[in-house]
């Protein structure tokens, strides 16, 4: 759990403070200095419009990480509500919710997101909608499974018989039981959202220029692959490092939880 919190802290710090330490304006166009190699003025060089790549990367953290955080949290809320509805709402609600999750899971999320974002028109709003709509099913499945098993547990039944309000039961019995598994699923979905945002940005369906999103930066850099290949390395590396860090934290958390379960 601690590793995930530390990691989240680092990412929040990066998204908040990154723009503050950026040496240049990420959207300032400077044609005279276009495609300059790395040097004292431009630590990582400049892009085709003479914009400082390091500044764009640092500002891009706000888009790539911030949006991914937002998307994964909205998905978490949506999926949890759907999962609870399936577990508590009776047979019909369960059937409807589970067939809906099946329908969404039956399809590769990224392809669905590309179709949704592309059809609704490129932009940050449709990007968020597309990745959220395709990213809540795993939470719903986990929550439904745990919810169903909790329903018949002695302490939950007793709490109900003792007249505890549903809200109190949710707070004191459901939340603690759901938290660990949901955190593991959340790390996976956070990483997926970062990859999804960069893929949609690269296809031109995501965050629009001149905003410095990492996928969009790769789209720009691709054209100048021959003359300035290094330009294409940095945004990709940023994505890989962030996704890798999140995945490793998620794995560590999952292993610890598995260990605790074995002990218990």
């Amino acid at each position: 759990m601690r590793s995930v919190i530390v990691l989240a802290g680092v990412f929040v710090a990066l998204a908040v403070c990154g723009p503050l330490v950026a040496p240049h304006d990420p959207t300032a166009i400077n044609i005279a200095q276009r495609l300059s190699p790395p040097g004292p003025d431009w630590i990582l060089g400049t892009d085709a419009l003479g914009r400082d790549i390091l500044s764009r990367l640092l500002h891009g953290a706000r888009w790539s990480l911030g949006l991914a955080f937002l998307i994964s949290v909205i998905g978490l809320c949506m999926g949890t509500l759907m999962g609870l509805l399936a577990a508590q709402g009776g047979k019909l609600a369960d059937w409807i919710v589970m067939r809906t999750t099946d329908t969404f899971l039956a399809f590769p999320d990224l392809v669905a997101a590309v179709v949704i974002a592309g059809v609704l028109g490129a932009g940050t709003g449709s990007l968020i909608f597309a990745l959220t709509v395709t990213g809540w099913m795993r939470y719903a499945r986990v929550v439904r499974g745990i919810g169903l098993s909790l329903q018949t547990r002695g302490y939950v039944v007793q709490a109900k018989l003792a007249g505890l309000s549903p809200l109190a039961i949710a707070r004191w019995h459901y939340l603690p039981a759901l938290m660990p598994s949901l955190t593991v699923v959340w790390t996976g979905m956070f990483a997926r959202a970062i990859l999804g945002i960069s893929a949609l940005g690269f296809l031109g369906f995501g965050v629009q220029p001149p905003m410095p999103e990492w996928g969009t930066m790769l789209l720009d850099a691709r054209i100048h692959m021959r003359s300035t290949p290094l330009q294409m390395i940095w945004p990709g590396l940023a994505v890989v490092i962030c996704v890798l860090a999140i995945n490793l934290a998620g794995d560590a958390l999952r292993d610890r939880l598995a260990g605790q379960e074995e002990q218990a």
């Binding site: 399809f107 999320d109 179709v115 059809v119 028109g121 893929a199 990709g236 890989v240």
Partner: protein, 311 residues
């Protein structure tokens, strides 16, 4: 038998749900679809009368449900309609696109399997050893790399810097090498992770020491006891793996300008050619539902205890 029937019913519901979701999305897409069709067809300013004519022709005037049913009917009979831009039948173009996508997807899958099985077997020989750590590190990085960026890096190295392999298009068989490698490397990363944990778990089964004490050989144990147990998680995730493969195909085709389903889909979205978009979505959904159905049926064979996966 009851399980099979319920699986079939579920597959049908999922397909109908996908069709409905797709149609709803396109129905609510911004802009007037009739205007888009008219503009695409006549490529100039069109009078309102023509737009209205297109609207009636396409059945858009009748409201959501009649339009949905009149679209779904022909598809059930295998008729995907005509492109709203060119007016040509969608199906032959779809078949051409598939003829580029399937070799890519299959060779990517083959490379992935060919790399991951030996790697997972070598890694699990000494769990925690340097080879195991190396395999885990490699797989972790492979899962974190965006496929399109890996493709760009391979183009940069093998096509731009070394000049060994062609990068763009699909004219010759050598054009398949780089895209298939991109796909195969990312697939092998996730497969290695799954195989490794599957094998480790199977090795930890309590019946193995009992067999060893009775003098059963290691080779026999691996073949008849460890492999089947390691196969179950692989079958479970194969459906997910296929989804991952199709996602990869879309991105990889765009990177390498290979005229398969990925380019077909992205091009159709950009041209707002909705019949084409619908056709790809329905086709993909059909593919996935079929594969998942086969997996569920295969489960019944491998491990009859599992029964219904949700229950």
């Amino acid at each position: 038998m009851r399980v099979i029937l319920s699986l079939l019913l579920r597959a049908a519901v999922v397909l109908a749900g996908t069709a409905l979701a797709t149609f709803t999305l396109l129905w609510h897409a911004p802009g007037d679809p009739a205007l888009a069709i008219a503009l695409a067809r006549f490529r100039s300013v069109v009078p309102d009368a023509v737009i209205e004519q297109v609207r009636v022709e396409a059945g858009f005037d009748a409201g959501f449900w009649p339009a949905f049913l009149s679209w779904l009917g022909p598809i059930l009979l295998g008729d995907f309609g005509q492109s709203s831009v060119t007016g040509r039948d969608v199906w032959p173009e779809l078949v051409t696109a598939m003829s580029y996508t399937f070799p890519l997807a299959l060779s990517g899958l083959a490379i992935g399997v060919a790399l991951s099985i030996p790697l997972a077997l070598l890694a699990t020989r000494h769990p925690g050893g340097w080879l195991d750590r190396f395999a885990v590190a490699l797989a972790s990085i492979g899962v974190a790399i965006p496929q399109f960026w890996l493709g760009l890096l391979l183009i940069l190295l093998f096509a731009v810097q070394l000049g060994w392999l062609p990068a763009m298009g699909a004219r010759t068989p050598t054009h398949l090498i780089l895209p298939a490698l991109t796909l195969g490397l990312t697939v092998s990363a996730s497969l290695t992770r799954i195989l490794r944990s599957g094998i480790l778990e199977a090795r930890g089964r309590p019946f193995l020491p009992a067999f060893r004490r009775r003098g059963v050989s290691e080779a026999h144990l691996t073949r008849n006891h460890i492999a089947p147990h390691a196969a179950i998680p692989v079958v479970t995730v194969f459906g997910l793996e296929l989804a991952f493969l199709l996602e990869g195909v879309v991105m990889v085709e765009v990177i390498f300008a290979r005229p398969g389903l990925g380019i077909f889909l992205v091009g159709a979205i950009e041209a707002r050619d909705f019949p084409k978009v619908q056709a790809v979505v329905i086709l993909a959904a059909l593919l996935f539902v079929t594969v998942n159905l086969l997996i569920d049926l295969l489960y019944q064979v491998i491990d009859p205890r599992i029964g219904d996966r949700d229950a």
